[in-house]
């Protein structure tokens, strides 16, 4: 009987050479898909309904580029307003004040229940409610006559159609809807922060606003940022809904208009796909770097700990 000798001094074994398992199914599937892809590319090139020269000529025409600009502007503004609203509504929900929490709940309930397309059309038609938008004391039409006073208590008035332009209607519809979704995301983020953080900050004499701004919100961002990135992409795509208001300067409306005018709609729809594809891809790259920068603190911290441990080991 020989006891196994310690690994030291033993020759390394020969590397294993074995026949790998074959996967014929994979090869067949790949071949089928390749043929389908080739057929698709062939169609793109040979089917003249795509009308590529016409598509390329119009895809970068000034009205379409202006449409891209409008779409981007609408996305950024709607997200900015939506995020601010979301933070405010989430804070209201968590405030412990039953009236504020109830209001916040009703807001989220309504704007998450109604489809964005319906909201867009609704806000586009809001102008029929009032001719003018007026600033003044509420219910003056009741209490002024009751007090025996003539006239009204309104100090400022603008025609409704000057305020509620199609762009404003689009922005309102998208931002209010986004606010409701952001409120849920921000709330989940704030709830993910350990209660001990708030208590430690309170014990240091920090007030509510300061604690939110400096302690809880920054920590909640790790939970808030990833879904918000997805929301930006979704918002970019949903800006196409505002062509129903109609907001005529928007990208999808412009492409459709060219298609309808020239009786050659299909290439313009493809152009819309290409534009949304391009912008969304750019956004996804941005999201990748943003998320990476948010976890960087952890990773470098982790690296440093590893270095410390390896130093301690020596």
């Amino acid at each position: 009987m020989s006891t196994p000798t310690p690994t030291e001094g033993r020759a390394a074994p020969e590397p294993i050479k074995a026949v790998p398992v074959r996967h014929p199914g994979r090869w067949i599937a790949a071949a089928v898909l390749l043929v389908l892809a080739a057929m698709f590319v062939n169609m793109l090139v040979t089917n003249d309904k795509f009308n590529w020269p016409f598509l390329l000529e119009n895809m970068f025409s000034p009205p379409v580029l202006y449409g891209v600009w409008t779409t981007l502007k609408l996305t950024v503004l709607a997200m900015a307003v939506g995020i601010s609203l979301g933070i405010a509504v989430a804070v209201m929900r968590l405030s412990g004040n039953p009236i504020l929490a109830g209001l916040a709940w009703v807001y989220t309930w309504f704007f998450r229940a109604v489809p964005r397309l319906v909201l867009c059309v609704l806000f586009g038609n809001m102008g029929i409610l009032y001719q003018n938008l007026e600033l003044g004391l509420p219910f003056d039409n009741y209490w002024m006559p009751a007090l025996g006073l003539d006239g009204d208590a309104r100090f400022y008035s603008v025609p409704m159609n000057e305020v509620l332009t199609p762009f404003m209607a689009a922005l309102l519809a998208l931002a209010l809807s986004q606010g409701a979704y952001m409120a849920e995301i921000v709330r989940a983020g704030l709830l993910s922060v350990d209660k001990g953080q708030t208590e430690a900050a309170q014990a240091l004499g920090m007030g509510r606003g300061l604690i939110l701004r400096r302690i809880t919100l920054p920590q909640a961002l790790r939970v808030i940022v990833p879904p918000t990135g997805n929301e930006v992409t979704a918002m970019l795509k949903d800006t196409s809904l505002v062509s129903a208001i109609p907001l005529t300067t928007e990208l999808f409306f412009q492409l459709q208009a060219i298609g309808n005018r020239t009786f050659d709609l299909f290439p313009m729809l493809v152009a819309a796909c290409l534009w949304y594809l391009a912008i969304t891809s750019l956004l996804m790259v941005g999201q990748f770097f943003l998320e990476r920068s948010f976890t960087r603190g952890d990773r470098s911290a982790q690296a440093e700990v590893t270095i410390m441990q390896s130093k301690a080991g020596h």
């Binding site: 208590e199 014990a203 240091l204 509510r208 302690i215 440093e304």
Partner: protein, 275 residues
């Protein structure tokens, strides 16, 4: 008629309420009651912590030690009794025999000169060690950043962690984190420090380094209320020892006396288990 009499009665009783304690008293609790819903956690706590005193609080789990500590800096609202810190009624203003709740900002202001150290450290993980320590002085007291940094570095040096100023909390051991937490509380120049089982979450070999910092602090004359299971610390550093059970103070006195010659059966039973 009887309703009016009752009202008068109540107002005279309120008028007879004890007035703010003298200058040498840091904490005065009078008949402090606290319930969570129907659960009565504190059932009439009376105690006094004098300026410069180190009071250790011991007792079985669930006896209300943490709750009492949290009442002192008004992290919990008391339901009855009175609690003064540094001559001020915590959380309320007493005027004409009535109590008025203080606003959030006023409560926050009251907390500024009370430091608190938690069992779970509760450092801010998104800030560096230095960031943790300067945060409150800069944001709450509006100290100039440079001055706050200088003080913070002195405090970190004092707890032996000046070389960790740029590290983040998660890179530190538990003992180091707790020492940073102590430095963070001291940065507000508190007149009273509350410790809630500061070493209970630590590996045994790290307990000593935190207790050493606390001993230094006691030696410098800091007023401290320490909830702890470290009987050695209580005996060596404590000026008084309070034994709590079931939401009341069962026994209190000089630590040596309480530990070696407990007067109550419940104290004896508890000590026989932990010593």
């Amino acid at each position: 008629m009887s309703a009016t009499a009752g009202g008068e009665d109540a107002s005279t009783r309120a008028g007879d309420l004890p007035q703010a304690p003298g200058d040498d008293v840091m904490v005065l609790a009078e008949n402090v009651h606290k319930s969570f819903g129907r659960l009565e956690v504190l059932r009439g706590i009376d105690l006094e912590v004098r300026r410069g005193e180190v009071m250790c609080v011991v007792g079985p789990s669930g006896s209300g030690k943490s709750t009492f500590l949290r009442c002192i800096n008004h992290l919990e609202k008391i339901n009855g009794g009175r609690l003064w810190v540094n001559g001020r009624l915590m959380g309320y203003r007493q005027h004409g025999g009535r109590l008025y709740e203080l606003r959030d900002s006023q409560v926050a202001a009251q907390r500024r000169d009370i430091g608190m150290v938690f069992q779970a450290f509760n450092l801010f993980p998104h800030m560096s060690v230095l960031g943790n320590v300067v945060e409150a002085p800069v944001r709450v007291k509006r100290e100039p950043r440079a001055a706050a940094r200088e003080t913070a570095m002195e405090l970190l040096d004092k707890v032996g962690l000046a070389d960790k100023a740029a590290s983040f909390p998660r890179q530190l051991s538990g003992g180091q984190q707790q020492r940073v937490a102590i430095a963070r509380a001291l940065a507000m120049r508190p007149e009273l420090m509350l410790f809630d089982e500061p070493t209970s979450a630590l590996d045994p070999e790290l307990v000593g380094e935190v207790l050493d910092v606390m001993k230094d602090l006691a030696r410098e004359g800091m007023t401290m209320v320490v909830v702890t299971h470290e009987m050695g610390f209580a005996r060596e550093v404590g000026d008084s020892l309070v034994f709590m059970d079931g939401g009341v103070v069962v026994e209190s006195g000089a630590p040596k006396r309480v530990l070696t010659d407990p007067q109550h059966e419940r104290t004896r039973a508890f000590l026989s288990k932990v010593l």
